[in-house]
Assembly symmetry: C2
Homo-oligomer: 146 residues x 2
DNA sequence: ATAACTGCAAAAGTTTTGCTACCAA
DNA sequence: TTGGTAGCAAAACTTTTGCAGTTAT
């Protein structure tokens, strides 16, 4: 089994596998969408993903991109990111959990991870009588001067 | 000066003051919008705020609600919250900084604050060469069982 | 065979905007 | 007086959906 997220080929195989285990049919169109997503190392929105998909298979419609993303999201195969004031972006869920830094000058997205913050979150929620099901943490940043 | 966010009257006065110091005109319509916002202790979206505003002054249009919120946001008087998959919500910015817990069963929003998390965020960003300008932290939770 | 899937176009929902008239300062 | 504002309706955008035909299994 390829958990190898370094090769886009491996990511494509993983996505196909995840799609099939979700009970979804592997259609020509979905193959193209997954391929486009596997080859994206940024976080494309629906239109970008649609354009990249069409470069592989020009017949794929935007509706299919949306429908596929919705299905895959419901099955935990991809994450839908909705940053402030932007259309939703998508990323494969194969990578370990992480949060995002958004460069407010360039729009670049950097991923990071902090066990400490996760623990603090759970602790805070617990004090208020809640369990954290999932969370969103985004740092809107500019490059530091020095 | 009333920094007293316990009384809605005080909050209304504070909002009016903030609007005027932003160089905006205090119109009849804006008075109604600010009044509606000052009397909201939840986080209304544009439609809700519009309805509450119309209860005060029926002539106010939805466009004016949006335009007013955009102006006030640009001047730091209010915050625009955009939770996952929902239309934007608004809150007065007079309260001290805080983040949000969203109850995924009821939609309730609880505010919390954690100095520790803020410090960790800054530290993480710094290690990656960034300064945090602002951030978003949302915990999507359900009531804890015990 | 047949239930799932697709493209297309239309609809839905949120937010913005052009325009003409109006009003706060 | 006059530049900022308002309402209205239309437009802009993102996302979803009804429908009739197609396809993977």
């Amino acid at each position: 089994m390829s958990n190898n997220s370094t090769s886009s080929k491996g990511r494509f195989e993983d996505l196909k596998k995840a799609l099939k285990s979700s009970g979804l049919k592997l259609t020509r169109q979905r193959k193209a969408v997954l391929n486009a997503l596997a080859n994206s190392d940024d976080h494309p929105d629906a239109n970008q993903l649609h354009r990249r998909t069409q470069a592989i298979d020009a017949s794929v419609s935007l509706a299919t991109v949306y429908r596929t993303m919705t299905e895959l999201e419901n099955n935990g195969v991809i994450h839908r990111l909705s940053f402030q004031g932007e259309p939703a972006r998508f990323e494969a869920a194969d990578a370990p959990h992480h949060d995002h830094i958004i460069d407010i000058d360039t729009g670049d997205v950097v991923e990071f991870q902090s066990e400490k913050i996760e623990l603090l979150q759970a602790e805070i929620a617990r004090e208020l009588g809640y369990d954290v099901i999932h969370h969103r943490l985004e740092l809107y940043c500019s490059k530091s001067s020095k």
